[in-house]
């Protein structure tokens, strides 16, 4: 069972991802670039230096219930769950206005942004469903915006979170047929497609010209002199370290914050109107959503306890290659504009139902303006009994992707009941489009029906520690399928580690990491993470190949950045299978291996976080860290379970050894002296 099965609901609305961005480059971890904690002239601020890490929903509403391939509801009269709000909450914070937090694994792996501490609730008056979202990273990120003017950033990206809702509370006093059909399930499968994230901040320019205008307009020169350091700050730098746009400060919130580091509140109040009059730059968002917000399309269905948590054991249509592109410089493969598409088939009365999730599959010209019909043309769902030969494709149905509500009501789902003769349970399926002027096979299932995925694909490991989740040992499970059912026992799966060169090339080629400076010394030493005791190939049992992971101390190879990150490739090992198999480049395993011993003392470690996470700027002062007003809170948060919203993102970069050291340090402060 999964969200691809019945019953399921769809919802849509907006999500907020508001990470702090000073930690976006390893360079910013270097204490040498901070002469003073808020002297940021050598720092790359990126787009949200005062980000809160919030991940939350707004305006999300249940739009549709599918009970079966032929039965649906779209009004609250048919099912009272329609029209209900889907809201993000969190237990630890107690506030229903806030959701979870979004956290990258490391400054060299920002392509696996995890959501922690999120709870999902349906119904904002009477709660109908409440469940804990099992923390996981997004996956299957790709550049959905493909037009000539689309932003060259993650704003054009699309991805999905596939996870489960557990610890369920279901209240069906409104007598929803959907909830009745769930029949007291203990967990639900949830798929969240996220795209059109606006990461273009409002900006404010502090240079000689704007500050001269401020001066002429009456801002006291003594105030402007104090603000002089802002002229050196910048959002990004080139590879030589030169600021790309000196003095361009992102977000009014951060501009306020940084100005008040240099001038008093009285001076600010005297001058801020004039300062902003001349510093404010024309705003152009990268999508139609507000800054830090994007679109979300969700689907929730049943889940079983023995199923993988983070992917659906389904079938997969893969992105195809459409010949080559030739330019003056190179000849490169021309990739299909469409992206990997999970689907399933199911025998129903009168035929075979084909259920496609196209929510993360079809391109747009620019983000959030509808699909790129000029590229896609007419889309046909086809059977491929002859493999990927389009000439033998059998058209099954036209896909109505341009209809109103395809995303907002159906979350990109397309369902068709096939009544023909083909046995679709073993026939590859695909999608054909004619946007290029002729029919092309844009998506195609593996000719032999193979598909594989690691269930959990993000790990944090601490050498010398036996914690079952975060310790020096763990396992990763690769699920292998053939036409949606487990492969035959004994199918060989390999796993290997990317070399230093491969790792750097990989990560800088991702949408999340590209353009990041300071990505050096990646995945060294290579022997700090051992895969399966050195045995790279494992045979499947019941469709699963399990690899042991064991780490040793990497020995602080990155100096001021804790530990090391490793990237593990996996795939089918047998040539007969892998010769035609196309794998999503996102399908790797990312492992953070922390240093075994803390490099710095507790105060220095916490001060580092004060510099990098400006919402915790108070940590830059030792007097605050040792103050009873802060130290117990710091200790409480750090000792919270990793799944708690209190834990992340404060400790994203902390090892268990550092946590232990800080806890001991604070315990020492809390030990009373003997009474005289």
């Amino acid at each position: 069972m999964s969200y691809l099965d019945y019953p399921r609901i769809h919802f849509s609305g907006q999500f907020q991802a508001d990470p702090s961005t000073i930690n976006n480059t390893p360079n910013n971890y270097n204490p040498a670039v901070y002469p003073e904690p808020n002297d940021l002239g050598e720092v790359e601020l990126y787009w949200a230096p005062l980000g809160t890490s919030t991940f939350q929903f707004k305006e999300c509403v249940v739009s549709r219930v599918d009970y079966s391939p032929t039965e649906s509801a779209t009004t609250s009269q048919e099912d009272p769950i329609i029209g209900q709000a889907v809201i993000s909450v969190n237990n630890g914070g107690g506030s229903k206005l806030v959701g979870g937090v979004i956290v990258d694994l490391d400054p060299t792996q920002q392509n696996v942004s995890e959501v922690w501490g999120l709870e999902v609730q349906i119904g904002d008056g009477d709660t109908m469903v409440h469940g804990q979202f099992t923390a996981i990273s997004f996956n299957a990120i790709w550049q959905q915006g493909q037009g000539p003017t689309t932003p060259r950033s993650s704003a054009s990206g699309s991805a999905f979170y596939q996870s489960q809702l557990t610890s369920l509370t279901i209240d069906n006093k409104k007598e929803s047929r959907f909830l009745t059909a769930l029949n007291n399930k203990e967990s639900l499968s949830i798929n969240l497609v996220v795209n059109a994230h606006n990461n273009s901040p409002d900006t404010y320019l502090f240079n000689d010209e704007t500050m001269l205008k401020m001066s002429f307009a009456g801002v006291d020169n003594s105030i402007l002199e104090k603000l002089d350091p802002l002229k050196c700050m910048s959002m990004n730098r080139d590879e030589s370290g030169t600021a790309n746009a000196p003095g361009l400060i992102p977000t009014k919130k951060f501009t306020d914050f940084i100005m008040l580091q240099f001038i008093s509140k009285e001076e600010y109040n005297l001058s801020y109107e004039t300062i902003y009059k001349y510093a404010t730059q024309q705003y152009q968002g990268s999508t139609n959503c507000d800054f830090t917000w994007g679109r979300i399309y969700g689907t929730i269905g049943e889940a079983e306890a023995d199923e993988p948590s983070y992917f659906v054991a389904s079938r997969m249509m893969n992105q195809t290659t459409l010949g080559v592109s030739t330019s003056q410089c190179a000849t490169t493969p021309r990739q299909s504009p469409c992206y990997f598409t999970p689907f399933k088939t199911e025998v129903v009365e009168g035929g075979t139902a084909i259920i496609l999730n196209l929510g993360n599959s079809l391109p747009t010209n620019t983000p959030d303006i509808g699909f790129y019909k000029e590229v896609l043309g007419t889309l046909e769902l086809v059977a491929l009994p002859g493999g990927n030969d389009i000439n033998n494709a059998v058209c099954l149905a036209e896909i109505n992707y341009l209809e109103d509500g395809f995303m907002t009501e159906n979350a990109g789902f397309f369902t068709f009941i096939y009544t023909g003769e083909l046995d679709l349970s073993t026939t590859p399926l695909g999608i054909v489009g004619n946007g290029s002027g002729s029919k092309e096979l844009l998506l195609a299932e593996d000719p032999q029906g193979y598909y594989l995925r690691a269930d959990q694909f993000v790990y944090r490991m601490n050498p010398g520690n036996t914690d079952p989740e975060l310790g020096e040992k763990n396992t990763t499970s690769i699920h292998a399928l053939k036409f949606g059912v487990p492969v035959a026992d004994g199918t060989e799966i390999y796993m290997n580690m990317m070399s230093t060169y491969e790792a750097k090339k990989y990560t800088l080629g991702t949408l999340g990491e590209s353009g990041t400076l300071g990505v050096e010394n990646v995945s060294i030493p290579q022997n700090a993470l051992i895969i399966n005791d050195g045995v790279p190939v494992v045979k499947t049992t019941n469709g699963v190949a399990t690899f042991d992971l064991k780490c040793t101390d990497p020995g602080n190879p990155r100096d001021y950045v804790n530990g090391q990150v490793y990237f593990l490739n996996y795939g089918f090992n047998e040539e007969a299978i892998k010769k035609d198999f196309i794998q999503d480049a996102n399908d790797i395993v990312s492992v953070q291996v922390y240093d075994q011993n803390p490099k710095d003392d507790s105060v220095e470690t916490l001060q580092k976080f004060g510099r990098i996470y400006k919402i915790m700027n108070f940590l830059t002062k030792e007097e605050n860290i040792v103050s009873i007003n802060y130290r117990n809170l710091i200790s409480t948060y750090l000792n919270s379970p990793i799944s708690s919203i209190k834990h992340m993102p404060v400790t994203r970069d902390l090892s268990l050894a550092e946590l232990t050291e800080i806890t001991s340090f604070i315990d020492g402060l809390n030990t009373p002296p003997p009474r005289n």
Binding site: N91, K253, Y268, N269, T636, L669, P674
Partner: protein, 489 residues
């Protein structure tokens, strides 16, 4: 506010006040006639330049009968009047506290903040009027705070077992009708809390015309109260020193040392003692509101601080010795939240938190239990930047008012920790202006901001003139049924 008064003029006014006080007391002799106040008044220390004082006759004008009486009804301060000094603001705060805690005299146990003048705000945003009892108090409902921590005290002198602190929120009718009106698209020309007669009239008329409701004590303008409570044995010896009310509280089941479970539906009736109260309200020139807070005098010791005595000599009030143990008078007191043998380095440590379902879980490495608490910022002043003048002002106004209150008046047992506001009349707003904080710079109530004492009220209450400022603003539901509030108390 500090900037609005010339210091020379201020001193001259003080001199006039003292002269007037002296003459009036002699002429009318009311100080001597008031039972229990004479001896205490003699011990007061009125002469410090930085003291905030009040004469007996002025204090008597706060009472609706014009006389200071045990449990007497205190009128709300007229918030349309300009407050011309810090001391005026502290007096406004005290008067509002005494008003809010005045018995209404209706005979059903009502006090003003639980009468027809106020609504209780429930978790789901519902506004409830229920005289005589608190509708419901919940663990940490009033003070969400980062982490939603729960505070439990070892209230052995009040109850036989450790007690969870519970919270409630109350808004007056001006606030409630203003909020409802805004939700209904009214008051389009008002983007901040009312501070003028014109604005107040709009709200009063809206309540009357739309809801057939008569707003009582409208001159209080918008008021928001947060109260903290602890369950007590009503027969306990010290119970009489507290303002008490009946309330529903969640019925918890202890599962382990780390968890108390609540089924979400079971409540028990309990007698609750008021241990803390935030008094927040708009006044002329202060749409950002004045944020004052009060505590029972036996709650917690304060950290060491300094104040000016009658000769303007700097005096150290030492409550903790160098080892962090209680000393002096503080060591002989029977604090509700701090044990006699406790040490300050162990204090203010959050031990547990409540989740969205109301269950209470211990933090990692900790168990459910009482926390030792002290006020790290006496009178809301920073230890590393002590303002003995503010300490002196608040300390003296507390001494004056608790002395002037009639013997037997339970309100004598409460003290103001401090009050804060901004000199520019705004909370911090995105893109400016910044809030210039006046009064107590780091104000906290030990029973509410227990684990977040470092910040100022405006550290959290900012970012908007309504919703950003008052966190309950956007959580309140509309008043939907005509009110029947026509009977003044």
């Amino acid at each position: 506010m500090k900037s609005k008064i010339n210091i020379t003029l201020f001193l001259a006014l003080c001199a006039l006040i003292f002269t007037f006080q002296s003459c009036e007391a002699t002429a009318e002799g009311d100080t001597a006639e008031l039972e229990g106040t004479e001896t205490e008044s003699e011990n007061l220390d009125p002469a410090s330049t930085y003291a905030c004082t009040i004469t007996q006759s002025e204090f008597a004008t706060w009472f609706d009968t014009g006389a200071i009486t045990d449990g007497g009804m205190v009128n709300a301060a007229n918030s349309l009047n300009e407050l011309n000094s810090d001391c005026d603001t502290y007096k406004w705060s005290w008067q509002m506290f005494l008003w809010a805690t005045s018995p209404t005299g209706t005979g059903n146990g009502d006090i003003v903040f639980n009468s027809d003048t106020f609504f209780d705000l429930l978790e789901d945003g519902t506004l409830v009027e229920e005289g005589g009892t608190l509708t419901r108090t919940m663990a940490r409902s009033a003070q969400a705070g980062l982490g939603n921590f729960v505070f439990m005290c070892d209230s052995s002198k009040l109850t036989p077992e450790g007690a969870i602190l519970y919270y409630a929120i109350h808004v007056n009718d001006v606030y409630a009708y203003f909020n409802t009106g805004k939700q209904m698209g009214k008051f389009t020309d008002m983007d901040q809390f009312p501070t003028t007669q014109k604005e107040l009239t709009q709200i009063v008329n809206f309540a009357e015309n739309r809801f057939e409701a008569k707003i009582l004590d409208s001159l209080a303008l918008t008021m928001e109260l947060k109260t903290s409570w602890v369950k007590i044995d009503p027969n306990a010896a010290d119970a009489k020193s507290y303002i008490t009310m009946k309330s529903e509280i969640p019925k918890y089941t202890k599962v382990t040392d780390q968890q108390l479970l609540w089924d979400g539906i079971s409540f028990e009736k309990a007698t609750m003692a008021l241990v803390g109260m935030h008094v927040t309200g708009s006044t002329f020139g202060h749409p950002e509101m004045i944020w004052a807070t009060f505590e029972h005098k036996d709650n917690v010791p304060m950290a060491n601080y300094q104040y000016y005595d009658s000769g303007d000599n700097l005096v150290s009030q030492t409550n903790f010795d160098e080892q962090g143990y209680l000393t002096g008078d503080a060591a002989t007191a029977n604090w509700l939240f701090f044990g006699k043998d406790a040490n300050m380095v162990q204090a203010n440590d959050p031990r547990m938190s409540v989740d969205a379902d109301g269950n209470i879980t211990a933090e990692a490495r900790k168990t459910i239990g009482a926390t030792q608490v002290y006020l790290t910022q006496p009178f809301g002043e920073a230890m590393n930047n002590p303002n003995a003048k503010t300490n002196t002002a608040i300390r003296t106004i507390n001494e004056y008012i608790t002395s002037l209150l009639a013997d037997g008046d339970v309100r004598k047992n409460y003290n103001m920790v401090g009050a804060t506001w901004t000199s520019n009349g705004v909370p911090g707003l995105p893109g400016g202006p910044a809030a210039i904080v006046e009064g107590s710079q780091q104000l906290a109530n030990s029973s509410m901001e227990t684990f977040f004492q470092k910040d100022n009220c405006f550290s959290c209450h900012y970012g908007g003139k309504l919703g950003g400022l008052s966190h309950i603003w956007s959580k309140m539901g509309e008043l939907t049924e005509p009110s029947t509030k026509t009977t003044p108390y």
